[in-house]
Symmetry: C2
């Protein structure tokens, strides 16, 4: 167990790194944020800062030597970066989690290999392979880059009549994966943590709605039969154990309703704190950020129960943030703003959480 006063190194300076740093500070931990952009929001709340590129080996070594553990806020940490850091200091979550989740083909193969349902998928390395995959999976189907996709970027839907070559042009002819379309009833996620000692703690299943491919609203608990929710949690646990994972992670899933029953299908794993877990700051006994700090410090995990009857989190994207005066004036609306300068369209600027409290008895 790292003692209070230890320093957590955080790779990445966005809102997730910022909220990890804020949680760490509550426990008397120091933070050191490493990010390439000088105006990174996380720098504002960290005791030490390194402004350097993710492939700057000297800066990485200096950073690793200055901290007691390194974690990260994004899954696209380059493998070389992870390797350099991990040879100097514990990297949590580890390189295996990164390697598996950075590549959609690796990830889906890994999940399916655990016997967990996924969308049907095929590797696509050429126009010919795309044609074969389309024949096998049918349409609609979704062509996705294997790497560097998020918030709907790097993916193209192929419906009847769409030209496969145009889709390959759109994604830039990089290695890809074709996924059969899943006619889901709703999207959910499991946010959970695994400790250094193998302990596991999951929050209630989150129900997510998106707007323009970006998370819009998370509601907890999700409207799911108890049995389906239990299966979703079991999938998350199985994934964490197979990855020997340490820290908070999220598993995005589709809920498919067929023949009167609900099935959950794993879509994606995020090896980090997750937007669909922001509600935990006010809505759960232990926030996902504190939980992540606990896990990476080798501390016991905290309780994940709700602090109220239900919780709703709404993202503030782009100009949504202009609503801040009304949100500040709304009783019980917990406003979070990330300290970003320019509210570009599509940029996550903040979020607001509303907890429905249980009535006094």
């Amino acid at each position: 167990m790292l003692p209070p006063g230890s320093t957590i190194g955080i790779l990445g300076g966005g809102q997730l790194g910022r909220m990890i740093a804020l949680a760490a500070a509550r426990h008397g931990l120091r933070t050191h944020v490493y990010a390439p952009e000088p105006d990174s929001p996380a720098f504002e709340v960290a005791g030490r800062r390194t402004v350097a590129a993710y492939d700057d080996e000297a800066a990485l070594v200096g950073f690793a030597d200055a901290v007691d553990v390194v974690t990260y806020e994004f899954e696209n940490v380059p493998a070389d970066t992870a390797h350099i850091l991990a040879t100097h200091v514990p990297l949590r979550p580890g390189a295996r989690a990164l390697a598996t989740t950075q590549d959609r083909l690796e990830e889906k193969t890994f999940v399916a290999g655990l016997g967990i349902p996924t969308a049907p998928f095929r590797a696509v390395g050429s126009a010919a392979e795309l044609e074969q995959a389309l024949s096998a999976l049918g349409r609609p189907a979704v062509l996705k880059t294997r790497r560097f996709g998020y918030d709907g970027k790097g993916q193209v839907m192929l419906r009847e009549g769409d030209d496969p070559r145009a889709a390959l042009d759109t994604i830039g002819h990089v290695p890809a994966i074709l996924e059969g379309f899943v006619p889901f009833a709703r999207e959910v996620s499991v946010v959970a943590a695994r400790g250094v000692d193998g302990s596991f703690a999951a929050y209630d299943v989150c129900e997510n709605t998106h707007r323009d491919h970006i998370l819009d609203v998370t509601r907890v608990p999700a409207r799911l039969p108890a049995e389906t929710a239990a299966r979703a949690l079991a999938h998350a646990r199985r994934i964490a154990e197979a990855l020997e994972y340490v820290g908070v992670f999220a598993v995005e899933m589709f809920v498919v309703e067929a023949e009167g029953r609900s099935e959950v299908i794993v879509n994606e794993i995020a090896p980090r704190v997750h937007n669909s877990g922001h509600w935990t700051i006010e809505g759960a006994e232990t926030s996902q950020f504190e939980q992540h700090v606990r896990a990476v410090c080798g501390w016991p995990l905290g309780p994940t129960s709700l602090t109220g009857a239900s919780v709703e989190m709404t993202n503030l994207v782009g100009a949504d943030t202009d609503r801040w005066p009304a949100l500040l004036a709304e009783p019980g609306a917990h406003l979070h703003l990330y300290g970003k300068g320019v509210a570009r369209p599509g940029r996550k600027m903040g979020h607001v959480t509303r907890v429905r409290r249980r009535p006094a008895t």
Copy 2:
């Protein structure tokens, strides 16, 4: 209303400044901490830092020019310091709150002048005045320095047979006040806020127990008849209005039970966030730190209702902090550590808050 992205200047770098800075960050505000000690805990979480003495005029002006509003974490801000700052930038709470609360004689005179009960008191400027005051108030009585007292420092109890001259020696023959002893049943505090627009919001009355003159445990709600609690809140509101106060403050009170009824007697005003309000971080919809930020930014005050049925906050003083592993492992114990280096006896190192949730219905 200051917009998000504005900078709050915080005078003082201890745990209160640190927790104000953490709250400000949640709302996308920047913070700039000014403190003389290079290892101040608040520096770790602030975007900008000034290490300088409180009487360094050039540093104060530079600080004031770099921020949009200045607040402080301690009541002993020198009058000259307050004046220099206030000529450059809004100082909230204002100089009047400081002047009134820095001096026990001023403070008691002010409170009594509002028609609010206090302990009987007399000014003491000499041995002769002390003798007269003792004759008037009887024994036991408490001799207190007019300025710079906190956590029981700067005060001496005078019981039957105690030598008044020895008491004056103990406090160093500085201007003093003699207070008649109040045979209180319990100690409570009201933590409340007043906004720039005159709005007022108080938390439930807090019940406090001390150990070695330092706050040990705060329990909310206090065990008080509703009518007595209402009177305590009314006293706090009257004080805030008379001071044209902006920000969070605390009023420490004694509860005296006599002839089957409870009376509240005002003991002391703290023009700042207060240790007996730390429970609000998890225990109230709006923490006292967020509330203070809202007030000093000219924002609407947030709701002060409890998030559970009751709350208990325990300070971790000196070696108490060694219990951190057990506290981290206790489900539902919210551990806060302030990032201070050495756990000297009597030093506030952290606190732990336990919220009793309402049961699901």
